[in-house]
Amino acid sequence: MMDPCERCEELMQDFLDRTLTDVEWREAETHLAGCEYCSRRYRFEESLRKYVRTSAIERMPPELMAKLDELRGLDATA
């Protein structure tokens, strides 16, 4: 049988994406409830995802919006 922590690791991405089946979900939850090692890693992953998102988002330069606005009415044949 597979090591339970390895199995829990395998379920992590789908757990956080909420795409596990009910059976898998219960399996992960049961393991997490008793395993500090895995629950720390799940929490880490969750905050990492948020941090990646915040770090990666760059606002659009305002000049670009003006340029896009000028494209209105472009002719299909042009």
Binding site: R43, A56, L64
Partner: protein, 194 residues
């Protein structure tokens, strides 16, 4: 043309102009979200700006092929990702690199062994990674995998939307997403803890 026919024609033209203006309005309101995805799909700000402009030029020309009521953000991103593949990817047509397969706990394990298991408990542990290193690590994910990570994790698209945008099956979206995220964590571990 008889009088009523001219009137019908005039009405048709007016309706079309109104629909088109609405379309353009909605598309422009999504520009910031389109840019945020574009910016992480390409290497520089200039490239992202060009890509977004090309996308809007094409979208405005072919506005009549958009079905009202469907997901316009996904429709715009589909144009954008196709344009991106057409332009950039031709230049760097190196064989698709496969990300190395490190485990999902890889980065957490590395950080824990560098600073002790307890460090993973603190809320700010991820902030030990600089924002620049996150951006750099994202850019180092092989393109095929990066596209999916950017669409889902930064663009907030569902698996189904990402599948439609990239014209690949949902199963492929999931496997590329999982592998792309693992590659991201591996790059972060290498950069931060080297």
């Amino acid at each position: 043309m008889s009088e009523p026919e001219t009137e019908t024609e005039a009405r048709r033209i007016a309706t079309q102009a109104r629909d088109r203006a609405r379309f353009e309005e909605e598309a422009l309101s999504l520009a910031d979200q389109v840019y945020r995805v574009a910016r992480r799909l390409v290497g520089s700000r200039e490239e992202a700006e060009d890509l977004v402009q090309e996308t809007y030029a094409r979208a405005f020309r072919s506005w009549s092929s958009y079905t009202a009521g469907t997901n316009m953000r996904a429709w715009l991103l589909r144009i954008l990702t196709n344009l991106n593949v057409d332009r950039g990817r031709k230049i760097q047509r190196t064989p698709q690199t496969q990300p190395l397969e490190e485990s999902d706990y890889y980065l957490a394990n590395k950080m824990a062994s560098a600073a002790g298991e307890d460090v993973l408990e603190s809320d700010d542990v991820v902030e030990r990674l600089s924002q620049d290193s996150v951006v750099k690590a994202l850019s180092e994910i092989p393109p095929q995998f990066r596209d999916v990570v950017v669409l889902v994790d930064i663009g907030d698209f569902t698996y189904a939307d990402a599948a439609q945008i990239l014209d690949i099956p949902i199963g492929t979206v999931m496997s590329r997403l999982h592998r792309g995220r693992r590659a991201l964590k591996q790059h972060l571990a290498e950069e931060t803890l080297a």
